[in-house]
Symmetry: C2
Subunit: 224 residues, 2 copies
């Protein structure tokens, strides 16, 4: 009984989760599904979104998180979809992740009634983004084969937090000492059974799977 | 006059800088030069250290920062040099950077009288590590050519904080749409005149320059 009380208090004190739930409620009311999309810097999130959204039969919007600049947002706006830029550079060197309150501050500029799926492209970082829920339904991450097979073991929280792991840049495999089986073995060690797909945003290999996954997210029933 | 006072108070309140200075004093007393070595996950820091330290005519030690595990420390210990592992996973998902107090906690296990150069391999992250001084003399970072030319513009603090930018994995250039000149142009925009070198830890290209730089750090006069 005492334990239950403590948990309730801790949960109430967790401002981020409280705000994340408020975001989630707003998304649910608008019938918008939300993907929190994460990776290291340069793993290919934006290129995967360009490839995945072009020609997709789903109304997609993107919330673009960056420390500074709007380069990725500018690239995605070329797809003629709603894109909102969120910069985290208000602090000294900038926040290394999005939190629920930052996403909440962007809610008003998001045309939720015009989209079915919102992809939140997080700041490039394998640590902190996994620690902050922002109101998403699903979390997905990208790992590039140039990053090494050991990454699930070194950043286990990120790999555990996600419902999908996209293994990108497989076109480079012939030029790397990278063992896909070893990566998948390490991935299975930290997150048994997690969905994964092998893709190349450059050549288009596997992009059908990625588009199918995005389509599926948009069409999932809202959990009540 | 008033302004000066405010600055002094702010500086005194900055616990991290105070501890960083204490670390620096200890390093100076032991005549050990210190490099804070940073990058994204998977850019090749550990492989560059393996390549750079092997055969180097300098007594090197490594302080290895990771969220979890000791894989990199184990690799470097094979070089028969002093390696100390520092894990940041004591919090919920782990700290995304080293700070001065974490480094201080490792000082006692570092054989400072047996080395001339200490390389602190930071957690893989392009944001927060640049915000926390740990007592180093010099900061160096690695960017892999697989990460894209835009990274200096997206993570300017990191690129500005460093005295050396190592551009790694140039063996992959023939297989990438990566324009080295564009990277260097962007680098110059955020940190004019910063030293850089192009290397491949895989093929060994440019590793002579990297070793020369490490040697030079160890032999620099202590600033008084």
């Amino acid at each position: 009984m005492h334990r239950t009380k403590v948990r309730v208090v801790e949960d109430a004190l967790d401002a981020n989760n409280t705000i994340a739930q408020a975001n989630r409620d707003d998304f649910d009311r608008a019938a918008v599904k939300v993907v929190n999309f994460m990776s290291s810097p340069g793993a290919g999130k934006t290129t995967l979104l360009e490839r995945g959204i072009a020609g997709l039969d789903v109304r997609v919007g993107v919330l673009e998180g960056d420390v500074m600049g709007s380069m990725d947002a500018d690239r995605l706006a070329a797809l003629h979809i709603p894109v909102t830029q969120l910069n985290t550079a208000s602090g000294f060197g900038g926040e290394c992740h999005l939190d629920a309150n930052m996403v909440r501050s962007a809610l008003k500029s998001l045309p939720l009634d015009e989209i079915d799926l919102l992809v939140i492209e997080n700041v490039g970082n394998l640590v902190c983004p996994a620690e902050f829920r922002v109101g998403e339904d699903t979390r997905a991450m990208v790992i590039s084969v140039t990053e090494g097979e050991d990454k699930p073991l070194k950043y286990p929280l990120m790999f555990r937090a996600c419902e999908l792991v996209v293994v990108n840049k497989i076109d480079l495999l012939p030029h790397l000492d990278f063992d896909v089986d070893k990566l998948l073995y390490n991935l299975d060690a930290v997150h048994p059974g997690v969905a994964h797909m092998l893709v190349s945003a450059k050549t288009g290999e596997g992009i059908d799977d990625w588009q199918a996954w995005l389509r599926e997210q948009a069409r999932m029933e809202v959990a009540v």
